[in-house]
């Protein structure tokens, strides 16, 4: 089992308790195998607001984005919605973790977190590349790992593992600020 020290266990339990008490209006509370809190957001539109609230709340101080991605929910085990979008947060003050999850329908746009953490930029691009989840307000919403001519989203369950798409040449690299250069 998770071999957290007592000190960390207490801090984590405190965070979990606080989440359970004060954040259930945003969504359901759950715990994982390590007894780390999961907040199931009702609507993805609340995401930036909730994340800012979690960051500024002095008894949580979730100031670091650890990871952001999604997984396929094609069999509907986690509820109605094609994908489960998740982010991991870490509190540098309490050294505790929590997770926000949200069910996202196919084609639904999720608000971007690039305004909160610049790190979210590439992670959201990767999420788009692999699952086809678009992010509203993202400055540069295009593929990151695969070629831009690639069709389909490889981490969706229906995409075959061995379906290769080969191109005979490589695309020229695109500068993000190209429009600014031409001005």
């Amino acid at each position: 089992m998770s071999r957290l020290l007592l000190k960390n266990r207490e801090a984590q339990d405190g965070i979990n308790g606080h989440l359970k008490q004060n954040y259930t209006q945003h969504g359901r509370y759950d715990e994982d195998a390590n007894q780390e809190g999961i907040l199931w957001l009702v609507s993805s539109g609340d995401l930036p607001e909730v994340v800012r609230k979690l960051r500024d709340d002095s008894s949580l101080a979730m100031d670091r984005l650890a990871d952001l991605s999604a997984y396929d929910n094609i069999d509907g085990v986690d509820g109605v919605g094609r994908f489960v979008f998740f982010i991991h947060l870490y509190s540098s003050k309490f050294h505790s973790r929590m997770r926000i999850k949200c069910l996202v329908a196919d084609g639904e746009e999720v608000p971007t977190l690039t305004g909160v953490w610049p790190m979210a930029n590439w992670l959201e691009r990767e999420c788009f590349d692999m699952f086809g989840i678009r992010f509203r307000g993202h400055p540069d919403m295009r593929r990151i790992l695969m070629d831009e001519r690639f069709e389909g989203y490889p981490l969706r369950k229906e995409y075959a593992l061995e379906a290769r798409q080969q191109f005979s040449d490589s695309l020229p690299i695109r500068m993000v600020t190209e429009s600014e250069v031409s001005k």
Binding site: R3, D32, Y71, L161
Partner: protein, 404 residues
């Protein structure tokens, strides 16, 4: 002339004085470590704008996780950060053990900690050596590589492979430590500090090295937080965080060691942090080797216990059990866990989502390199082109982990 200009047959003269020249670095560039690519808009020698391109080593390791059993996927963790494969193995099996609720034995825990620290030492060796090599300091590369080879010999004795180890198993280790392990570790732990001293003598006060690394590629503590940087790079910027101390896993809180923190966050500080971390890791290794307990390396949990070969040949039930583990894979109950370790490059996390059965529903790898390379785009703006090479070496971006 005017008609020529009108018909776009010649370009007006002022266009030749465009200060915005685009310079492509990589993917096949010696300093770009094979697979990274940066497009720089340069004005003279100064990089005014940069744009990174990744994905040249995207091998679909996360997709493979959904098609392989939990044990089969251990080999893919080796190929994430191939400079410190031992640490990746341990991080992954920890996450799966969390979902299954398995407690490992004391000896197994110590062996895994030795793996983690040995991986840190060899990873830092490669980072410092390559960073120096990129800037022309060939001797450092050769001196440090001698010890990396020594470490490889030890690792080969432990698991039979030099680079891609696949040493950890869910619930235990593939093999116990070899007989000559303590003796070989002793030579390694006594010999490496001398070489580290020599390297510091060569570099730390070297005029060329200092000129090329001091005040180059500075990242502030706020930037580190925003870009989600962890590990030695963040610690060099004064962010006092280390998962080994902050969220201690295994036995780290019982050992005597220090978190290395610098203040400035330039290339020189990152080099100093890495050098000191190697010494701290050797200190931990010394304590671990002294305290190494006896006993079994395998947990008693029958869901994951790989039976002994002798029993497999002699007993029917054990043979069936062995067959089930290897042909079907272990059955992991539904659940999920995010487990992060302090890998040599920073926080390496495995998020395992299981919906029951022998294959994972989704495994997401939180790789420190992705955050590091994203910050690279930002930190080379305003730097010179040779500085960009120095900064890239100091970040230690491993493409296998970056693109996964």
């Amino acid at each position: 002339m005017e008609t020529l200009l009108k018909n776009n047959l010649v370009t007006p003269l002022q266009d030749y004085y465009n200060p915005n020249v685009l310079l492509n670095l990589g993917p096949s560039h010696p300093a770009m470590h094979g697979t990274l690519r940066v497009m720089c808009r340069v004005n003279g020698e100064t990089i005014e704008d940069a744009s990174c391109e990744i994905g040249y080593l995207h091998r679909a390791i996360e997709k493979l996780a959904e098609h392989k059993t939990y044990h089969q996927w251990i080999v893919y963790t080796d190929r994430l950060n191939y400079c410190s494969a031992l640490a990746n193995n341990v991080g992954y099996v920890m996450a799966v053990e969390d979902v299954m609720g398995i407690t490992i034995t004391e000896r197994c825990m110590y062996i895994r900690m030795i793996c983690l620290e040995l991986a840190r030492v060899i990873d830092h060796i490669i980072c410092v050596a390559i960073n120096a090599l990129d800037m022309g300091a060939m001797t450092v590369f050769w001196m440090l590589y001698t010890w990396r080879e020594q470490a490889y010999t030890i690792i080969e004795g432990m698991c039979g492979m030099r680079l891609t180890t696949s040493y950890a198993r869910i619930g235990g280790m593939a093999y116990d430590l070899p007989e000559n392990f303590q003796a070989e570790m002793k030579t390694f732990m006594e010999g490496l500090p001398k070489t580290l001293d020599d390297v510091e003598k060569l570099l730390s006060a070297n005029r060329i090295w200092v000129d090329r690394t001091k005040d180059v590629g500075i990242l502030t503590a706020e930037e580190c937080l925003g870009f989600g940087l962890t590990g030695p790079v963040a610690r060099a910027s004064g962010v006092d965080q280390d998962l080994r101390r902050d969220r201690p896993y295994y036995n780290y809180s019982d050992l005597d060691w220090d978190v290395v923190v610098a203040t400035k966050g330039d290339v020189y500080d990152r080099y100093l942090v890495r050098m000191e971390e190697m010494r701290q890791s050797l200190k931990i290794l010394k304590q671990l080797c002294a305290k190494l307990p006896g006993g079994s390396i395998w947990t008693e949990d029958s869901r994951v216990l790989i039976p002994k070969k002798k029993d497999v040949y002699e007993k029917m039930e054990v043979l069936i059990h062995h067959f089930k583990i290897f042909m079907e894979g272990i059955d992991v109950p539904p659940g999920e866990s995010y487990r992060a370790i302090e890998a040599p490059n920073g926080e390496l996390g495995y998020y395992v989502v299981s919906r029951g059965g022998p294959k994972a529903w989704r495994i997401k790898i939180k790789s420190p390199s992705l955050a590091l390379f994203q910050s690279y785009e930002h930190s080379i703006k305003g730097a010179k082109i040779p500085d960009a090479i120095a900064i890239l070496g100091s970040l230690n971006i491993i493409a296998g982990e970056l693109d996964r």
